[in-house]
């Protein structure tokens, strides 16, 4: 009797406690600015966001210097003059899925997350929509939303005003897999 209880006790306390955490296997974040003068785009492929399926929390931490532009000059200006990456090395999003996620059955769904988006040191409450597709333990997430430069205190001098849009379109494509602590 004692042995049975002890056995159950051990089994339950050491049950895999991380089964509801998902981490991105791949995550591509791209930004796009379209104006009559020129289009600017950049991609960041090294971010690893994490979400907790049972609590619904999701966290992104993006390193600003990891955005790659096709022109080095644009990349330097982005980091030095606009994002001020030395002062603000990261952009973060901490939020929660508004509806309960089903991480065990296959299928697709529309989702929305609400949380705080911090860019250039300025935090803003945002609700962002997207789609999720669950297949065989992997969750594919896609989202497109706009970030207004003025919301985050990013100033564009009038000299280059026609080259940079006021709203930057962000696209996120990620594939999440269950997190295994190593």
């Amino acid at each position: 009797m004692k042995k049975i209880f002890l056995g159950l006790f051990l089994a339950l306390t050491f049950a895999p406690a991380f089964s509801q955490i998902f981490i991105a296997e791949t995550c591509t974040i791209s930004m796009f600015s379209a104006t009559k003068m020129e289009n600017i785009d950049a991609t960041n492929a090294v971010t690893k966001p994490v979400f907790n399926c049972s609590s619904g929390e999701i966290v992104f931490k993006v390193t600003n210097t990891s955005f790659k532009f096709k022109s080095q000059l644009m990349q330097d200006h982005f980091n030095e003059n606009y994002m001020e990456s030395e002062k603000f090395p990261y952009c973060t999003f901490k939020g929660k899925f508004n509806d309960k996620l089903d991480c065990s059955t296959n299928g697709g769904d529309l989702i929305s997350v609400t949380g705080k988006l911090e860019v250039h040191g300025v935090e803003k409450d945002r609700t962002i929509d997207g789609t999720v597709k669950m297949k065989d333990g992997k969750m594919t997430v896609h989202s497109k939303f706009k970030v207004k430069l003025a919301d985050h205190n990013i100033k564009v001098p009038s000299v280059v005003g026609t080259n940079i849009a006021e709203d930057i379109e962000i696209t996120i494509d990620a594939v999440f897999i269950p997190y295994v602590k190593n």
Partner: protein
């Protein structure tokens, strides 16, 4: 008794079971632990590939073409009638510079003074990293200069350029720089200058000097630049002075403008480093002048 013991164990078990499911996870900590650690290089140690005259540790970005105009007026002390040097004689250098990979760059330049044509190569050997593991950048500079002046017959230097290779001179620099923070960068550049032929018998074909550049950025797009070249060897019986310049640099979009005061009329490295013949201090050889540099970078 056995019953109560069993119940107590069961309740304890249920509590522990509930506890393991109610566990909070620090998601941000998981994100931090799994961040992809990529080597990020320090960007924009200087705003341009030149301070006033001296080359900085910066090399153009990948696929970038730089068109540059450097202009040096006559000395301010030539007075009001000469519009404090604006009326001339002046020295202008036009150059076109390019980098394919953002690490190696080459350039082609021509100065009006002495009709000096030069080509140079500049290579980033070591790049400073943001995480501090590499605390400074090291760039190598090599320039080859060709004095294209027609010599008048009968002049003392007629035989000097009897062979066209006599017209060549070289400058090699090891540029060591560090960006301390977004407002302050500092650089030293030990320099070697070689002339294939020199004018006076007592003059040395080789000279050594140390360049210093300080950049103080006081706003997002503007900075003050100070440069000084300390000559280390005695290479000529004639009087020359250390080149020193102070500049105000401003950047807008793809342009970098700099307006400065310097004692050197020459812009080409083989001339301003060893042969500046006007000084910052007054007197008979005093001569500080206004100058400007324009750099327009095209992303190809």
């Amino acid at each position: 008794m056995k019953f109560w013991k069993a119940l107590a164990s069961f309740v304890l078990l249920v509590c522990i079971y509930q506890r393991s499911y109610a566990q909070d996870f620090d998601l941000m900590k998981i994100v931090d632990d799994n961040q992809v650690k990529k080597k990020e290089y320090t960007f924009a140690t200087f705003k341009s590939t030149r301070a006033v005259n001296l080359h900085t540790s910066e090399v153009l970005g990948r696929r970038a073409l730089d068109f540059r105009i450097a202009h040096r007026f006559s000395a301010l002390n030539t007075g009001a009638y000469n519009a404090w040097g604006i009326d001339g004689p002046v020295n202008i250098q036009l150059s076109l510079e390019y980098s394919y990979d953002g690490r190696l760059m080459f350039g082609l330049a021509r100065s009006s003074q002495d009709k000096m044509v030069d080509v140079f190569l500049k290579y980033r050997l070591i790049r400073q990293t943001i995480d501090g593991k590499t605390p400074f950048s090291v760039t190598w500079f090599s320039g080859m200069y060709y004095n294209n002046t027609n010599l008048s017959a009968g002049g003392p230097s007629e035989n000097m350029y009897a062979n066209s290779t006599n017209r060549l001179s070289y400058v090699h620099q090891l540029i060591i720089a560090r960006k301390f923070n977004s407002n302050f960068s500092f650089q030293i550049s030990p320099t070697y200058v070689h002339y294939n032929i020199v004018n006076l018998t007592k003059e040395n074909n080789d000279s050594y000097s140390m360049g210093f550049v300080t950049r103080i950025k006081y706003s997002k797009r503007a900075a003050i630049v100070l440069e000084y070249v300390l000559r280390l060897s005695t290479y000529s019986p004639a009087t020359y002075y250390d080149s020193m310049g102070i500049g105000w640099e401003i950047e807008t979009g793809g342009h970098v403008f700099s307006v400065h005061l310097t004692n050197s009329l020459a812009i080409a490295e083989n001339e301003f480093i060893p042969y500046t013949n006007t000084s910052w201090s007054g007197g008979v050889n005093g001569g500080v002048r206004l100058g400007f540099n324009i750099s327009r970078v095209f992303a190809l």
